[in-house]
Amino acid sequence: MGGYLQYVQTLDYQALLPAMIVGGTAVIALLADLLLPRRIANGTAILLGVMATIMAGLYASLSYGVHYLAFGGGFVLDGLSVVFQEIVLLSTLVTLMLFNRRGVSEDRPAYVALVLWSSTGAMIMAGAGSLMTLFLGLEILSLSLYCLCAIARDREVAKEAGFKYLVLSSTASGFLLYGMALLFGATGTVTISALIHPATGIHGLYALGMGIFLIGLAFKLALVPFHIWAPDVYEGAPLPVTAFMSVATKAGALAALARVIYTAIPQPDAHWLLLPTFIFAAASMLVGNLGALAQTDIKRLLAYSAVAQAGYIVAALAGATELGIRSAVYYLAAYAFMNLGAFAVAALLSSDREEGTQLVAYEGLAARQPLLAAAMTFFMLSLAGMPITAGFLGKIFILSTTIHTGYWPLGALLVIGSAVSFYVYFKVIRAMYARVERFSHPEVRPPSQLPWIAVAICAVAVIVLTFVPVMPGDATFFVK
């Protein structure tokens, strides 16, 4: 053991520092809860969380362009890990801003700590270079989320959400772990990029392990047909947690998926191993959008929409091309802003007692609060892939990826799914702009004005990203 530790250098810890900042701050937030009076502790915890997120984000951005294998390849610092960590941190920041009082007025520091820990888990997943680290990150993420989903203990639906998530997510973890064990059995290594040796070819056990592993990831990503848990869990969890799950969890799992697809599946002779990703993408784009059609609760609507959006991103990744990963990263960044923005708008329509997630709460919003309605319109347009938003450009990039790589039927399915999704997202726009004689929904005073910052950041980002399409440009996006 000591023999191993002497190889661990300061640089290794520096690579892990952003995740350590966030995880460490969670402990401090809990200490604050212990030491400070309740009133001060609540604010302090959030402030600490925000500061830690920003610091970690700044520090992580400094290492963009650096390539380093930390802990003997267990944790990788490369373009992919930095970009995905930033997206996780962004959603953590917004989540912290969206805190509402519903059911959590007493436990806020614990709440902050759990969010920070799950963020740590997602960040570790983003940089996981070996299957062990991947599983470690995933479990840190998931365990915190089980608690977060059920944190509003007085609500039946929250308890149900927490339990459902616990059961199904553990099953998925089981799949993942079994797949990992088979992969290890087939290859004798847990380092993702070393899983396949070009010379040895593909073992049957390897294919089986990879298949089961991908199923486990699909569970976590809520890809069809493993998406059933998502709407119920999204609906039951508190609004900020739903926002976090819809972006940060997906970012972590997508980073893992991307790393496996790009470094552990040899090209082009093992292209058939990618088949499950094509199926997941195609099914998610269709089923997600169709499922969203009938929803009248924004959380459920966005849950189904998140299934479809994850399908779009997997569609970009499925061909394992360089353009694919760049499109996927661009789309994920765009998706982070538009989805978090939509949740921030919902937070502003929430009162102490009720979350503003019913479609009826949006009726006549354009007349009452034109700015908020305009922002929400942009988020919905972006989700639908309409200009002038980042979602439009992201969809163009993914379409061009499918054509470039030669699997244009997936592009055609994307078009069909998007056509269906028009009804989904414009339903919200219609509610906001349609003429209403009198508002049936009572005017609410949001518990905090903090979400306005999130709305502003997200709205600006969604528009600016259209005109300045920042795509990660460095060729060595993955370090093997």
Binding site: T377, V415, G473
Partner: protein
């Protein structure tokens, strides 16, 4: 940022959003602002005539996945449509009379800006961007100020799907050609024949839905009927031309061979649209529906002209496109006047407006005469040029059959005119004041432009020069050896 060409696109969009800073209740202020802005926009467009061919370009993304730029350029054909749009938007702004005028005016300006961007775009992706962006203000206006939301949904689903087809085709073009910065470029990238075939299908489908062409028209009568008069005037006259513009500039410019390959089908559909639209227009009682179906009929004639591949017919198409825009705007605004006064637009309920409201009757007559193709007005000149061109291209039967719906136009328009303006007075109709001066001021420039283009159709000839490859497309579709030798 000081380039005035860029401001043609930006001004309505920026000020459209800025409208929300105005007080909520100030309808007069909002309308005044809307009129001033759209007048300024008209002036800006007019200024562009001083430097046709001017271009302005800002890079968007390069190389990955392809090269695209925010590239705008003024050409005669683009400015022709821009000028028509600016004039009609100004007219619509003057007579806007709806609830929550500030928000309505803001959406009208946003719509104007997106359409300006569409006409001036030199990059296919920018074109697609504005093409899709156009949907949003129309949808919002339909759900808020329209009659029922079913029409809004139908409009959105049809045009949204068309927009997605355009996106897929644009992405494919960009990937295969390496750039989308090709509209109006001297040497467009040539694509492999198989790719060009289905990319053109994507473009043509999208244009055909937006125009609309039979059988993709079913959203159109509902949308026009449900729209408030100013919106109906703008979308029926200008938005319908974005599809025509696409065929003229992008179809001929980038896919001359494909245009020729699809010409038999498209012109047959155009002919069917002409006859079908005219027959249905004769039968409807709702004045707006009559106009909608007559519009379908007239747009069919435009397709016939485009696909005759005859330079004279192209001049006719441009004259008629402008004429159609102008008389449609006049008619939708006038029907709006009638509806505002009599609270109905059912032809059977109306009558004798010429007696109590002679100015209103006169305005309606001017619009109807232009619509049915009275010699001396632009509609006639356009129809004549198109028919001569179609005949000249050897499609004698098409030219002959196309005469029938043109005659039918006189039948259904005179039916409306005889009943509504000259018919016997209907006793229980409310008697309301005649047109106010601003209502005349709104339609007078449109009528004047109709007369101008009628007497001097050559005004559209410079724009026809921007439609390239018209004759070449016929040659290009001839045996492959010939076309390759010519390149």
């Amino acid at each position: 940022m000081a380039d005035s060409l860029l401001w043609v696109v930006l001004l309505p969009i920026v000020l459209g959003f800025a409208m929300f800073a105005l007080p909520k209740a100030g309808d007069g202020i909002a309308r005044g602002t809307g009129i001033v802005v759209s007048a300024a926009e008209l002036l800006l467009v007019a200024l562009q005539y001083g430097r046709v061919g001017h271009q302005v370009s800002y890079p968007w993304f390069t190389d990955s996945p392809w090269t695209a730029a925010f590239h705008f350029g003024s050409s005669q054909i683009a400015l022709l449509f821009c000028a028509m749009l600016a004039l009609i938007t100004l007219a619509a702004a003057i007579v806007t009379n709806v609830q929550r005028e500030r928000d309505f005016m803001a959406q009208m300006l946003l719509l104007e800006g997106t359409m300006m961007g569409l006409f001036l775009a030199r990059d296919l992706l920018v074109f697609a961007l504005f093409w899709d962006a156009m949907l949003v203000p129309v949808f919002i206006m339909l759900v808020n100020w329209g009659e029922g939301t079913a029409a809004a949904w139908r409009f959105l689903i049809y045009n949204g799907t068309a927009g997605l087809g355009l996106l897929l085709a644009t992405a494919a073009y960009g990937i295969l050609a390496g750039t989308t910065d090709v509209i109006g470029a001297a040497h467009a990238q040539s694509l492999a024949a198989g790719a060009a075939w289905w990319i053109f299908v994507g473009f043509a489908f999208s244009y055909a839905v937006k125009t609309p062409l039979f059988p993709f028209h079913t959203w159109m009568p509902d949308t026009y009927t449900a729209s408030p008069a100013p919106l109906a005037a703008v979308i029926s006259s200008v938005q319908s031309k974005s599809g025509i513009f696409g065929f003229l500039v992008i179809g001929f410019g980038l896919f001359p061979q494909e245009m020729h390959r699809w010409a038999p089908l498209l012109s047959l559909l155009g002919l069917i649209a002409m006859i079908y639209g005219a027959l249905v227009a004769m039968w409807h009682d709702d004045a707006k529906r009559v106009l909608a179906y007559s519009s379908l009929s007239h747009l069919g004639l435009l397709f016939l002209g485009i696909l005759s591949f005859n330079q004279l017919a192209i001049v006719g198409v441009l004259v008629y496109a402008v004429a159609h825009g102008l008389f449609n705007a006049v008619m939708f605004l006038v029907v709006g006047y009638v509806e505002q006064r009599e609270e109905t637009r059912a032809i059977s309920r109306l009558g004798g407006l010429g007696i109590n409201n002679p100015k209103l009757g006169g305005a309606m007559m001017v619009g109807s005469m232009a619509l049915l193709g009275l010699p001396g007005l632009a509609g006639f000149a356009g129809e004549l040029l198109i028919l001569i061109g179609v005949w000249g291209s050897g499609q004698h039967w098409y030219a002959a059959i196309a005469l029938i719906p043109i005659v039918l136009a006189a039948v259904y328009m005179l039916r409306v005119l005889l009943k509504v303006v000259w018919g016997p007075e209907v006793q229980d109709l409310p008697v309301r004041p005649d047109l106010a001066w601003w209502e005349i001021v709104a339609v007078a420039p449109l009528a004047a432009a109709l007369l101008l283009f009628g007497l001097w159709p050559n005004l559209a000839a410079p724009a026809a020069h921007d439609v390239v490859n018209v004759a070449a497309s016929v040659a290009a579709a001839a045996p492959a050896t010939v076309s390759e030798a010519s390149h």
